[in-house]
Amino acid sequence: MRMYPANTQPLVYIRIRNRSPSTPANPHTTTMPNTEKNHRAEHISNAAHRVGIPISEDHAQLVAKSSDALYDAIDTVRTLEYQDHEPCNVFHPVVFADGSDKGDDQ
């Protein structure tokens, strides 16, 4: 069973460039110096203030310390290679079988 029509090229086609197993996804998460964590915390604090979310300096540090998995994820997605000549409809990102890229919800 195909999830898009056989005669249609997929919008984008992912080819993932796997990292070498010896290279961590984000070297900062295992060896990141405090200055980098402080930089992250400062960024989080600034971003919070811009959108009106109250956050203390200590809590920004805690959020920074809790962000390793997210930073890994961001780095991983940045390594993905795919043909990107077609735009993505971020409001209908789920690709389904009915010939639509919109989950058949028109």
Binding site: M1, R2, M3, Y4, P10, L11, V12, Y13, I14, R15, I16, N18, R40, H43, I44, A47, A48, V51, G52, I53, P54, I55, D58, H59, L62, V63, A64, K65, S66, S67, A69, L70, Y71, D72, A73, I74, T76, V77, R78, L80, Y82, D84, C88, V90, F91, H92, P93, V94, V95, F96, A97, D98, D101, G103, D104, D105, Q106
Partner: protein, 474 residues
């Protein structure tokens, strides 16, 4: 509780339905049993946040009268159920397990509530959950942790923690959960249930608190796969008020349950899902035994290389927290101190995501979904473990205030989240127990809008085994 009443408490919807229809089982008695079990056991399980005894009994009496007069509405008629407390019921609180919404009273019914009411299901109350459904272990320091009926020191899995505990404990016969990274299938796996995440768009989310607009799914949690089919028959179908709601035809999901495994091709990923560096040996052993059983009973097994598949987890993480913070931006700005510390911290990690990385994740998701479709083109379903690890203790997964988020919880959704990214239907069924008597789940995932085949395989597996007949030691 007498043996008969306990047998009724643990009976499946599939078994009960014909007996309710012919009058040999009473919806009032079933509801009384459910309420008795809540009163007796929920101090241990903490599975319900709110129970509506009088309304439930009145609704059950009404169902009994309707059935006696020949107005039988189908297999959910007269069945006691619970709703995860992010599903609106008019006039009742929807707290999403948070102090932030402690005074939030729903002004109308969610679409799924209306449909269950119309089908004659007896909703006895709202089930516990991880605050705002953001967490995989099932802990919630505000409402108190739901506890696993198989061992009350262990996590239920989340975020539909109370739904998992309530169904596994025989308090209700089914419950609704929601699934954004695995929140139906993780508690289903850890509590020994059948839990179905339907195709994205199959079940409308109108009146259900959002977590991640492009990945939220609502679905059933029951003790048997057939029961998921009966619940899905009631809740599936288009609702124009949910922008993602599908107009696809809704089949009878129970129609193919007994067709068996002959002619079905089951894909087994060669990468990630069976990696011994990721998956506990007990989980591997149980799932491999289950696959062998499927193969020995008519299914053809097809190995599928998927060296790219682990990347789905990274895509899921970015989209979940970015959309989660977008949903919560106003609430968290106004009520930051009312969020539990771990959920607030997890939400705020999204402040680290540049817009371009969110868009990149959504673009990668489209490519990932196409690649999954191509890889699985020649099979009917994939069979994998539901979660890679055995049940942690609640203590191991509890984050003390002021500490960074627990790594233990990050392992749990590694596999389930892949199918939230693709939007494909995915079911967890009980496939064994570890040496400490904790359940292990087999995940069966299929093609978009083909829940019927997923349910058919799950039901066929259950018919070949007796795991589902075991009851937790409460």
């Amino acid at each position: 509780m007498s043996d008969r009443r306990e047998d009724l408490a643990f009976a499946s919807i599939h078994e009960l339905a014909p007996k309710i229809k012919d009058g040999s089982v009473s919806p009032v008695e079933l509801t009384q049993i459910a309420l008795e079990r809540v009163a007796k056991l929920d101090s241990k399980l903490n599975s319900f946040l709110d129970v509506w005894q009088d309304e439930a009994l009145a609704f059950a009496a009404k169902a009994e009268r309707e059935i006696a007069s020949g107005d039988y509405k189908g297999p959910m008629h007269g069945i006691p159920i619970g709703l995860k407390d992010l599903v609106d019921v008019e006039g009742k609180p929807t707290t999403a397990g948070s102090k932030v919404l402690q005074a939030n009273i729903a002004t109308s019914n969610a679409t799924v509530t209306k449909r269950l009411n119309r089908a004659g299901a007896i909703t006895i109350g709202k089930t516990n959950l991880v605050e705002f459904a953001l967490g995989s272990a099932g802990v919630n320091p505000y409402t108190g942790d739901a506890r696993n009926p198989w061992d009350t020191d262990k996590i239920t899995g989340g975020s539909s923690s109370g739904s998992g505990a309530a169904v596994a404990g025989g308090l209700v016969h089914g419950a609704l959960g929601s699934d954004t990274g695995g929140s139906i299938r993780m508690p289903a796996s850890l509590c020994g249930l059948a839990g179905l995440k339907p195709t994205y768009g199959r079940v409308p989310r109108t009146g259900v608190m959002d977590l991640s607009w492009s990945k939220d799914h609502v679905g059933p949690m029951t003790r048997r796969t057939a029961d998921c089919a009966h619940m899905l028959n009631v809740i599936a179908g288009h609702d124009p008020r949910d922008i993602a709601s599908s107009t696809q035809n809704v089949p009878d999901f129970a129609a193919d349950l007994d067709k068996g495994l002959d002619g079905l091709r089951i894909g087994i990923p060669e990468h990630y899902f069976f990696d011994p560096d990721i998956v506990d040996p007990e989980v591997l052993s149980s799932v491999n035994t289950a696959i062998e059983l499927l193969a020995n009973n008519g299914a053809e097994i097809v190995r599928i290389p998927m060296e790219w598949v682990s990347q789905g987890r990274a895509i899921n993480v970015i989209i979940s927290v970015a959309e989660g913070l977008a949903v919560h931006e106003k609430l968290i700005a106004e009520h930051a101190d009312d969020y539990t510390p771990a959920v607030r911290t997890r939400m705020l990690t999204a402040l680290s995501i540049p817009a371009v990385d969110y868009i990149r994740a959504q673009r990668a998701r489209q490519a990932f979904s196409v690649q999954m479709a191509e890889a699985t083109e020649g099979v009917d379903v994939l069979a994998t473990p539901s979660i890679p690890v055995l049940a942690h203790t609640i203590e191991e997964c509890t984050v003390p205030p002021g500490e960074a988020l627990a790594e233990k919880s990050h392992e749990i959704p590694l596999f389930t989240s892949i199918f939230d990214v693709t939007g494909e239907p995915s079911l967890s069924v009980l496939c064994g127990f570890d040496p400490t008597n904790m359940p292990i789940g087999l995940m069966i995932s299929g093609h978009a809008f083909d829940e019927a085949t997923v349910l058919r395989v799950g039901h066929a597996y259950e018919e070949l085994t007796s795991w589902h007949t075991k009851r937790p030691p409460l």
